[in-house]
Each structure stands twice: as structure tokens, then as C-alpha cells.
Amino acid sequence: MKVTDAAVFPYPCGDTSVRRFALEAKALGFDSIVALDTQPCTCEGVDVLSGILIREGQVKDVIPRVKRAREAGSVVAVCAGDNGFNRAVISLKGVHILRGMHTADKNGFDHVAAKMAADTGVAVDIDLSVLVSARGMARQRAIHRYRDILVLEQRFGFPLTLSSHARSYLDLRSVREITGLCSLIGMDSDAAGRALGTIGRLTEPAEPAVRVVS
């Protein structure tokens, strides 16, 4: 199982280069990172996966971008919106992650969307940058939303991912620190470990539908 940070923003979006991110991630206990808008590579023994973050308000705008990203073999994440948008995005082939749940509509991710995510294997992202850098009401609201998502996850079993959303290596957190932060939202260390390994499972090639036994 590969321990992966599901979203980092290297230079020029942030102040840290991809290689430096890989070095720091290795020191903090990660096997791979998803770097947005970069080419996939392996740096210092850490797999750098290419990621695309789609922020569109309309599903019709999301579809062509997902198609292009699928051809490029990137990890595709879409920012969540209202309930209808989320359900439509979850049913799109090629979408790996639905992210930004803490800022999405309050009823944006209900039990129907959770069931759909479990059926299609789309992961819901837990953005740890809110728990780290936000204070007061913003953090309280995020904790409440993430706890709500965890209740649905335990019921329906859709995958979760954990991302630092780091624009600098200073925003990265070690695996142990992430486990501690996840305990704030009621996630035990096993669940946090599973969530860190989700990207590896999402990106591995699918098994053929028919297998010849003999």
C-alpha cells in the first residue's frame, strides 16, 4: 500500500519545486504525492503522480476536461458543488476524487451521493489544510462536515483520500501528524492509513472483467 498525499501545488503555483516536495514527502513518511499540473515522474524514490483539479460550475464544462485528463492518465479531482452537480460528477467515468466538501453546499453530499460514490469508486477528499490553518468557526464547520462524511463512509463504504493541499513544503504534515489531525474528526489510525492508501488503489490498472482460469 502506497502512502500518498492526494494534492500538493508545486512551483509556480506554490513556492516549492516538485523535487523538493518529493524530498520532504519522503522524509515525512510518504511513498507518493499527487502534484497538480505537473508531469508524472519519480524523484528520490517518491512517485509523483500528475493531478488535475477541475473547478467548474456546470457539468457540461467538466465533461470535456475529464475526458482530456483521462487520456493523459492524470488523477482527476473535481471541486464539489450542490447536490445535483455532485451526483452528476460522481457518475462521470474518469473522475477519481470529489474534493472541497467543507466549502460545498450543506446538503451537497447526501446518502444517495454516498451510495453512488461507493458504487462508482469515486473518493471523497478530506482537506487537512482547513484543520491546520483555519481557526474558530471555519474549522468547527469543517470538522462537523467531515464527521458527517465519515458517518456516511462507515455506512456505504466509499473511499476517502487525505490531502494536505500544500502550496509550500511547510504545509506538508508527517503521516503521524496526519493521523493525529484525523483523530479530531473521529477517524482512527486504521481508517487514516486506509485513506492514505486510497490513491494507490484508484490509480492501479483495473482487473479485466473476464479472467481465463484454465
Binding site: Y11, S17, S168, L170
Partner: protein, 163 residues
Amino acid sequence: MTPRPPTLRENRRYILARIEPAGTAVEPKELYYAIADAVTSLWGDAVAGVIVQAVMSIENGHVIIRCLRGTERELTIALSTVTACRDTRLALRIVAASGTIESLRDRIRGGSTAEPGPENPAAVFDRKEIAIVYCNGQKVDVTGKGFKNAHRLFVTRSELENG
């Protein structure tokens, strides 16, 4: 006030954290306020009153923080939410926890440290002239040349071209 006998004293634990980025000048008092703010905003006044965190010393890019024994977990989670000290961006990376300050000082002495950049620090990164500020093995911290480009970039040695 008469000091309490050892059996009646509170047991303390000490946490060693590395201050990143390397070479960040931090005042102990300012860092104490940053940590106290992180602890209070995360756990509230009631738990902060139990943790009774204190910055013991800042040595060689590391900080030693004291807490009540049994509250290390709460303190380390709160330390991971420290992102700045006054206006300086920083991160505290937990290195070790111990019952004595002296054993943590041994850890500081045994660890590698970042060195200031060379005398002639000119180099090129992404077709821009930059100055090397700190380097530690492959890791290099640079700043852009000129007044407007003074923010720090974090790169590796292999990504630099000599100017």
C-alpha cells in the same frame, strides 16, 4: 513559597521540534504565544490549562517545549497547526519526546543542520537569477534577486544552474 517534595510535584514531559525553514529567527516569547494560540484555539481553555505548555529553549534551529505528562498527544496535534510566528511562516516538525531536557539536547547535537549559503551564492532557477540562502544536502532555500523578489523558494540542488 516552599518547594514541594518530588513525590508531590507534577510530572512533565519535553517535546523536541525542529523549526522549518532553516535559519528562521524566532523569539522564544513570540513562539510561546503562537503555540498557546494554537493549543487554545484547538482544544479550548480548559484543556490548555491542563497542558500548561511552555517554551523552554530554542537551540540550533530546534525548540524544546514542556507539557504535563500524559498531554503529549494533545500538544503534538496542536503543534501541527502552528503555521506562523508573528508574520513569519514556519512549521514545527516533531522530532522526539522525553522526560529530560538533557536527552533532547543530545538529539539536537546528533542531528544534521542546515548551513548558510556560500559566499558567492549566485545561481539560476527557472531562468531567474536567485541567491542561495540555506542548503542542507540536496535541499536548497533560495530567494529571488532584487527587492521585489525577496520571498523564499524551496528547491533542490539538481534544479539549479550556476550563474
